[in-house]
Symmetry: C2
Subunit: 316 residues, 2 copies
């Protein structure tokens, strides 16, 4: 049997006509892979993603190298992306603190992201600080970045459920979102870090944020597929008017063969749905799939993306 390589297009008039995909594979994906990928492979990966039409590719992280050895080569990688930067591809980098910002600025980064938590437990576990202490840590970093003319994204982890605290009250998420916006973040990415959200919860959080005065245009969603819910949750967010969606090429970072797989939403599965809905993304699905198959070869394991597997008939 053969089948068409692209989804049929049947638009839903209640949904946006265009979505910007914030590709997190090279950063969030590779950070959560066991293998440390050579710098040249990363550079080729990011070039291929841009060639496939992705306009925003989170490139790396400026955390302390000993914390995340997978991304310890930021200084070596960034110069290899200069042509993309010149070409207008957005290449945000993760920056945890002042030292990270200085490193990013020295390499000519134009866009950074800080990584906050909606819950005290995860703030403690990830940043060894309370939520308010972490916000206080970000404040001068965001201010300096803005002064330097950089765009700033605020990630917010554990927006739905937390492994220690269970369900996360919507009001708690709204409070941290407002703080991040007030300190100068241009965009917030609402993370379902452990993948437990369902579509009603997504709608409830987005409604509460709107009611608190947060414009939907400044929100992105970042779903994990731990329980298979990422795409249904994305659909709920689109229905609410969200037009920026985070995803990881090939589902990188969500190894289906590991315990407690975090399961990033695969960019290809997202693109299949968006294009089927007539929502333009600028992405060439065939090129993107070929890139993920190539990257899976470098990592020595198959992509967990169902679309990648179906389009490539890839065997593990």
């Amino acid at each position: 049997m053969t089948h068409a390589a692209l989804p049929m297009v049947v638009p839903d008039p209640a949904l946006p006509s265009r979505v910007r995909i914030h590709e997190v594979g090279p950063r969030d994906g590779l950070q959560n892979e066991k293998a440390v990928v050579p710098t040249e492979v990363k550079a080729e990966f990011i070039h291929r993603l841009a060639d496939a039409g992705l306009t925003t590719v989170e490139a790396t992280s400026f955390v302390r190298p000993e914390w995340v050895p997978q991304l310890a080569d930021a200084e070596q990688l960034m110069p290899q992306l200069a042509d993309l930067k010149e070409g207008g591809v957005r290449l945000p980098v993760l920056v945890p603190n002042r030292r990270g910002l200085d490193r990013a600025l020295a390499l000519g980064a134009r866009e950074i992201a800080v990584f906050g938590s909606a819950t005290e437990s995860f703030a403690k576990a990830n940043l060894n600080r309370t939520v308010d202490e972490s916000l206080a840590m970000f404040e001068p970093v965001v201010a300096s970045a803005r002064e330097a003319g950089l765009a700033v994204r605020g990630y917010l982890s554990m927006c739905f459920g937390d492994p220690w605290e269970g369900a996360v009250p919507v009001g708690q998420v709204v409070r941290v979102c407002r703080s991040l916006l007030e300190m100068g973040c241009d965009e917030l990415s609402l993370g379902d870090t452990i993948g437990v959200a369902t579509p009603g919860h997504v709608a409830a959080l987005l409604t509460a944020l709107n009611e608190a005065g947060v414009p939907t245009g400044r929100l992105a969603v970042h779903f994990h597929d731990t329980y298979g819910q990422a795409l249904a949750n994305t659909l709920a967010a689109l229905r609410h008017g969200v037009t920026t969606v985070d995803a990881s090429a090939g589902g990188l970072g969500g190894c289906p063969y590991a315990k407690s797989a975090t399961g990033n939403l695969a960019t290809e599965d997202l693109v299949w749905m968006l294009h089927g809905l007539g929502i333009s993304t600028g992405v060439d699905l065939g090129r993107l799939t070929a890139t993920s198959v190539w990257m899976a070869g470098r990592l020595g394991r198959p992509s967990p993306s169902r679309t990648v597997r179906a389009l490539s008939h890839q065997e593990p």
Copy 2:
């Protein structure tokens, strides 16, 4: 890290409050597995599914044994399910023709299903008939079943895309649906056999069926996860008022390690979403997951369901 074993509940008032899951694992699932499962294992599987709260479990098929060796033991299996039948569990069986119906009736079946196609190509490939010839073949079978007091479900394959024909016109699906209802089918299951549908297409088909006078209450949806779209498509169908959803425990029948995996929607992934939305199903997710883990052990391969993996930390 630990996390809650159940999703948080945040209802969406636009969705139904209750969904009936039509469990297809023992029939559609096992039919598409390489291994032939012993009759006793099937009987235990079906008992465990019923114990987990599933009220409709498609038990087997009365096609010619040489066509589907995986289900050649229908005569041996059915008597082992007598207690379930007495207890009110619905145990529909697939019946392709008069001979199959006679076998099913001889074993006391109370509910059958016929398996039609929305496209000429698949009717030819699967039944060696045109669509109209296959409808003519079903007509006396459905009539006899109804006379005998049996409930009849009509499956309709290729309702969205067809591997040979590409996109399937909505009007073509509507025509076959009406024929199946007019000949006496109580319920129709709309199948996305190759998994290419996206949510706008689902909404468009359901709208067209309503406009043609088909009540939503007589429709079920049957999505495949080939491209990861099954749950998002299910959400679109729920939003349209559909309250019967087909799924396969543990994602049986959709082996992620085979070429062209058909990828049944996993019942556990569905239940996670429904329960998170506050939609009752009567299913105990923990028991169901334990059943799928047990069955995966019998088949010697891991479940492709993300929820099963996450809840069981199952390694391949």
